[in-house]
Symmetry: C2
Subunit: 78 residues, 2 copies
């Protein structure tokens, strides 16, 4: 079964560090990982918020938002 | 190359939810994942703090602490 995970970030140093660590450990053969830069794709901020994301970097797995450290509040990206 | 990751938690609902999501996506064939309950193993709190962990649940990958959501402050576990 392939799973879908979305990593939302905003290009900040905290985001980049977290992204590198997550990519290192995730099972890419089984998990379809999409990486979304909300600075470049602000039209996806609402989608992230709907999934429960309140700050970036965050990883949404099966509809659950995992906030990973704290780079920026989602509200600061609007 | 096998990597070492340590998931620190304290048995709280936020910890359990995060643990389930992380275990789902991690590549267990490549990542040696250790799960440490700091309530049961308080002697490992100092080790977690030394890795930069300030709250649980947290995942330490290659010496980097990834705080995943917020269940409890490490200081509350001492």
């Amino acid at each position: 079964m392939t799973q879908k995970a979305i990593f939302y970030h905003a290009g900040c140093p905290v985001c980049v560090a977290a992204e590198n660590n997550i990519i290192e450990i995730i099972d890419r053969s089984r998990v379809d990982l999409e990486i979304v830069h909300l600075g470049d794709a602000p039209q996806r901020i609402d989608e992230a918020a709907a999934a429960g994301v309140t700050s970036v970097p965050a990883l949404v797995v099966d509809g659950s938002a995992l906030h990973i450290n704290h780079g920026a509040a989602l509200s600061d990206l609007r």
